[in-house]
Amino acid sequence: MTAITIEGVARSFGVLRAVDDVSIAIRDKEFFTLLGPSGCGKTTLLRMVAGFCELDRGRILFDGERIDTLPPHGRNTGMVFQSYAVFPHLTVADNVAYGLRARRIAAVEVDRRIDHALKLVQLENFRPRWPHQLSGGQLQRVAIARAIVIEPRVLLLDEPLSNLDAKLRVEMRTEIRRLQKTLGITVIYVTHDQEEALAISDRIAVMRSGRIEQVGEPRAIYEQPATAFVAEFVGTSNLLRGTIQQRDGEMVDIMVAGVSVRTRAAAGLVGDRVVVSLRPEALSLLAPGEVLRAGWARIVGLLSEVEYLGPVTRFTVQLADGSPLRLMALAPPATAGEVIVAFDPGRAIVLEGSA
């Protein structure tokens, strides 16, 4: 329905640069997530789109038409608040009807659309109920129904699941994604939960201190993090220091933890100090007597911690220089003491700068 363009947008609160020169192009019908730790500016950015936070600089456009000069009530965005913000003095039906009545839509039509919206969020029989009679999950659905019933140009969700318990969170996020696809609506979704972001987004923008660190599809964000921050924030990562020893086209040899690792790296010159990211699941322990696969690299260390987590087991291996290496495997280890960690060097990601 709507493509969103955010151009050079900035906002400071005192000395804090909450949003610092951010530009993003969100495509029509895209499920776009702003991901980052608390205080990174993601909610401020969302509130700028909704109109609750003024811009110091920059512009925001819907389908090429500037909207940041419009008052918040004239932007036709549907927002779902973290606290739900369901009006406590109105019934479920009146809550959903609120935006429709503000638009002076005929009563019959309002009635039809309430039914339709409540059906979409599976609250058909809740029309006459009062908010205080509803559970957290149900309030959440009312908030979503109220936001989508006005057929907004974009749907804005501000950490909508953070007040729900873990199981319901997973259920609701699937439902939100299904709803977005059914309605074919553009969504901006704010969360600090990386798993949630990876699970439902078309694309993710990882934010830090008011700036965008990386924009990309979930796989790209996870598998090719652009910065050490992204590598650590999205999933867990072992960040190791290394030096480029040789460059051969796209491939480089990097000396990391005493071994030479050959992997892909677009940038970096011979002699540059870099950070190498190794995901725990890319590493495995070599069982006694097991042969190292061809082309794989090996690092020797001391097994220092074992955490049995049920489906998987997490290990920590102490390297010779004292730095810890975290691993994930399906089975508990067969050995103790000195172990050999093996990995496909192609899965080592070279990051510029320091960790």
């Binding site: 003024e54 009530h73 965005t77 549907g78 973290q82 606290s83 009006f87 406590p88 609120y98």
Partner: protein, 551 residues
């Protein structure tokens, strides 16, 4: 780059209206009082002579000392009575707590000078109890003077300490107390070293309210002080003047009163500045398990305090229904006193209802938007607005009344002698309460509710009317009633500002005090009691307890 003015029109408009109102009817009158204190007899040259003459006058110095000692003693006794009361209410398993709390708060809406008058009826020179004691041959010292005044203050103002302290006792994080006990502190030691220090800010806040109220009170010393000088009363006497009005000396006394209040506020700030405890109870603080005798002792204590505080008022009601022949009590039931009271006209009663209604409406119309701006549009301007709008609390009613007369008896706007000047004084005086109670409610309304409404397409002003006001309604109605009630029993600025046709019930009673028959005075007092207790009883469910503490 955007039409910033449009977006800020609402808060700026509210600030402009509030500042204009308070500037005209609060700051400008105070400036007039200050001016009067600095001008010579001809009103032409600036001089400190007035200050020198007042401060070198034994009588006025004695007045200053009296006012300060009485106010400090009142605060101390209110704390002594109120803190144990609050503790029992918050932490002991005693029955009938809602009733206890309601009855404890009741003296706040009752006119305190009626309590003083009751004391005279009972223990005065011709008092009922005095008479009985004397007929039994037991000598009884007079109730007049400082001890009577302090007694009335302690018994009518102690709820100022009880209400915030109950809330504080209830919000103490129980795990802190458990930690103290876990580390080996006995329950008594825990109370002394952990619980009490945590609730100290609330106790001091309550004590400060008592101090300020006692300092500014006009009616109680008027009834009980006899020839003892009290600042608020002397300022009134100097200004209204039995011989000639002396605005210069009245102005000096007014400034002294303000200075005392400000000093008390600063001392309280100073004490609290070094103790900032933000504890947050995770759940309801549990009641202490105490032995049945302890529990009974607590209940007996609370009921004793309540009875002692309310018996004087009940006495007045009973006395008003008795027959008098001249000043002599006949012990026969009769409505003669009321007939005599209203014999000339019902005007005082209708005036009181009319003026209090107008003042309550006015305070809400200005106070609610001010609270909204203060809570929702945080800026340096709104912080200033908060300070200015709540500062009338620190100014004695007599002083404000004098200022309004000085400012508006001549010149561009003449208001002296009208009903309007009284209503304006009431609105100014009750504005702090109106703002505080409205902002207390607003703090409990999630701002995202308003944002949700705006997001759904409803403009800010319409959102305020459709979402904010309905959610605040219970609190607004409660605030209106409390303002009405406290205006109905207001005396200190009324006595300076009223004119013949605009005599109120409080003035009628004030005048009856000077007559010989206690019958008419007690009838007037009873009417006041009914008109203050009844509205509060009707809307009691709507009131939040903590609001009472801000009256």
């Amino acid at each position: 780059m955007r039409s910033g003015l449009g977006r800020h029109a609402f808060p700026l408009g509210v600030v402009a209206i509030a500042v204009a109102f308070l500037g005209l009817f609060f700051l400008y009158p105070l400036l007039k009082v200050f001016g009067a204190s600095l001008l010579d007899a001809q009103g032409t040259t600036l001089t400190f002579a007035n200050y020198l003459s007042v401060l070198s006058n034994r009588f006025f110095l004695q007045g200053l000392t009296n006012s300060l000692t009485i106010a400090a003693a009142a605060a101390a006794f209110a704390i002594l009575i109120g803190v144990p009361f609050a503790f029992v209410l918050a932490r002991l398993p005693v029955g009938g707590k809602p009733a206890l709390l309601a009855l404890a708060a009741l003296p706040l809406v009752l006119p305190s000078f009626v309590g003083a008058y009751a004391l005279v009826l009972l223990f005065g020179r011709a008092g009922i109890v005095t008479g009985m004691l004397q007929s039994l041959g037991i000598p009884f010292e007079s109730i007049y003077g400082a001890k009577g005044i302090v007694l009335v203050y302690a018994l009518t103002l102690y709820p100022y300490v009880v209400l915030p302290t109950v809330a504080a006792f209830k919000s103490v994080d129980v795990s802190v107390e458990e930690a103290a006990q876990n580390l080996g502190a006995s329950p008594g030691r825990m109370l002394r070293t952990v619980t009490l220090p945590l609730v100290l800010p609330s106790i001091l806040a309550g004590g400060l309210l008592v101090f300020i109220e006692a300092l500014e009170n006009f009616g109680v010393p008027f009834v009980l002080a006899e020839d003892k000088p009290i600042l608020a009363v002397e300022a009134y006497k100097l200004f209204v003047g039995e011989t000639a009005s002396n605005p210069a000396s009245a102005g000096v006394l007014g400034m002294l009163l303000i200075a005392c209040t400000v000093a008390a506020l600063l001392i309280q700030r100073g004490i609290l500045a070094r103790r900032h405890f933000a504890t947050r109870a995770r759940g309801a603080t549990p009641l202490l398990a105490v032995s049945p005798p302890m529990r009974r002792l607590g209940a007996v204590y609370c009921w004793t305090v309540i009875v002692a505080a309310l018996v004087p008022f009940a006495t007045v009601v009973v006395v008003s229904l008795l027959e008098f022949r001249g000043p002599v009590l006949q012990y026969g039931l009769s409505l003669d006193n009321f007939a005599q009271l209203f014999q000339r006209s019902y005007r005082p009663l209708t005036n009181t209802v009319l003026l209090a209604t107008l003042a309550a409406a006015g305070a809400a119309i200005i106070g609610v938007p001010v609270a909204y701006v203060v809570v929702r549009h945080r800026s340096r301007l709104s912080a200033l607005l908060d300070v200015v709008a709540t500062s009338p609390f620190a100014v004695a009613g007599t002083v404000l009344g004098i200022g309004l007369v000085l400012a508006y008896s001549s010149g561009f706007l003449i208001l002296t002698g009208t009903w309007l000047i009284m209503v304006l004084a009431y609105i100014v005086r009750k504005l702090p309460f109106s703002v505080r109670s409205a902002s207390a409610i607003l703090h409990q309304i999630d701002p995202s509710l308003e944002e949700a409404s705006v997001n759904l397409g409803v403009a800010p002003l319409a959102t305020f009317l459709r979402i904010t006001v309905p959610l605040m309604l219970g609190g607004i109605v409660g605030g209106l009633v409390l303002t009405f009630v406290t205006v109905a029993s207001e005396l200190s600025s009324t006595v300076v500002l009223y004119s013949g046709p605009w005599t109120t019930m409080t003035v009628a009673m004030f005048q009856a005090l000077e007559g010989t028959s206690p019958g008419v005075a007690s009838a007037a007092a009873t009417v006041l009691i009914v008109f203050t207790v009844l509205p509060v009883a009707l809307v009691y469910r709507l009131l939040r307890r903590h609001e009472l503490s801000m009256l």
